[in-house]
């Protein structure tokens, strides 16, 4: 990658970082998620700005081709992130319990609000 390409990639990554921080300060993204993406983006920016680091890590990893190393690392990261998101999504059980609790409370309110003259439970069917 020549200097010009590196500059373009770093610029794009910096824009994404700025967008991420803006969403964090607008309270649209949680601190945990922001931290995760921030570490990734800053890491990518450093590696793009200093390509020699990629070669060094490739040697440390076992003389892998740099592209293979990056692909492998990205794949592992994505798989673990998907697993994490799957677990988070399945906090759905709590939503179900909350919805059920709300339904029961609403019924209780309706029962309390029901006034004489209105149809009551156990009343004969209307003709």
């Amino acid at each position: 990658m020549n200097t010009q390409s590196s500059l373009v990639v770093v610029s794009i990554l910096l824009l994404v970082t700025a967008w991420l921080l803006r969403n964090f300060f607008d309270k649209k993204i949680s601190s945990g998620q922001t931290l995760f993406w921030l570490v990734l983006l800053v890491g990518a920016e450093i590696l793009t700005a200093f390509p020699v680091l990629i070669d060094r890590v490739s040697v440390l990893w076992g003389n892998l081709v740099p592209v293979s190393w990056i692909t492998f690392a990205a794949l592992v990261l994505l798989v673990f992130y998907l697993l994490y998101l799957t677990v988070r999504l399945n906090g759905y059980a709590r939503t179900v319990e909350l919805a059920r609790g709300m339904a029961r409370l609403e019924r209780r309110i309706r029962e309390l609000e029901r006034r004489p003259g209105e149809p009551q439970q156990g009343a004969p069917p209307r003709e």
């Binding site: 939503t95 179900v96 919805a99 059920r100 609790g101 709300m102 339904a103 029961r104 409370l105 609403e106 019924r107 209780r108 309706r110 029962e111 029901r114 209105e118 149809p119 009551q120 439970q121 156990g122 009343a123 069917p125 209307r126």
Partner: protein
């Protein structure tokens, strides 16, 4: 037969966007059963179905969001457990089930105290026309017959009755719409299962929950539920205890 004064169970009617057919279902059920035995569960309908229930003056539960058919059934089973109902029987809110069949299911339970009474469209009847749903139903009916050791001809019929003793098992099992996996699970616990011929009316309004997407993934999900049941609940029978007692404070606490 009119059961207005002789019902020990809870008739649970899951409703989701059934405003066009719901009024008839409400009228039919109210004319036949005491309203204290009816529980409509509006699963977050957006078409005003709950207004029909409100006008009828019925006690109903309304999920604030759409939780799905299975969660509505679970809500009903929990209500049945917290009340003093001997059984819970599911009856669809789309007008496809007939009151006569519901009464026959209840009568069958009262005759022999079966733990699970199932409706079947295909028992003592011609085979259904070939479609994705009928092929899936037939395949899973065969699989269920093999695993449960009881002849089952229609696993996907929504009209079914579960006795109080087996409701905790049904709540514990991993299920997908409480069909094949529920039948197999209860059979493994020693539940007595009976199937009755019922007639399902053609749908007059609304849309079926079994669209193409669900039709394609339903078999895979059911297989996962069945495998999960075999692997994680090898001694399912130990879940069955004495008939659970009602919780008198449950309603008061909301």
């Amino acid at each position: 037969m009119n059961c207005r004064s002789a019902l020990n169970g809870l008739v649970a009617i899951p409703v989701y966007n059934e405003a066009e057919s719901l009024q008839r279902v409400v009228d039919d059920l109210c004319a036949t059963f005491p309203s204290k035995n009816l529980l409509f569960i509006d699963d977050g309908s957006t078409d005003g179905s709950h207004a029909i229930l409100e006008r009828a003056g019925l006690g109903y539960l309304r999920h604030p969001i759409n939780l799905g058919y299975e969660e509505s059934l679970r809500t009903a089973m929990r209500e049945a457990l917290e009340g003093d109902h001997e059984y819970v029987v599911f009856f669809d809110g789309d007008g496809q089930h007939r009151i006569e069949d519901l009464q026959r299911l209840i009568q069958a339970y009262e005759q022999d105290r079966s733990d699970l009474v199932l409706g079947s469209r295909y028992r003592e009847a011609d085979q259904p026309p070939l479609s994705l749903r009928s092929v899936t139903t037939r395949t899973f009916s065969l699989l269920t017959t093999l695993l449960a050791g009881v002849r089952i001809t229609d696993v996907t019929c929504g009209l079914k009755l579960i006795s109080r003793r087996y409701i905790p098992v049904a709540l514990k099992l991993p299920t997908e719409d409480m069909h094949a996996e529920l039948i197999v699970g209860l059979a493994r616990c020693g539940a007595r299962i009976r199937e009755l011929k019922v007639t399902i009316r053609p749908r007059e309004a609304g849309t079926s929950m079994y669209h193409l997407y669900k039709g394609l993934f339903y078999p895979a999900k059911t297989v996962v539920c069945l495998l999960g049941q075999m692997i994680f609940y090898p001694r399912l029978k130990s879940v069955v205890g004495p008939v659970p007692k009602p919780r008198p404070d449950a309603r008061a606490n909301g």
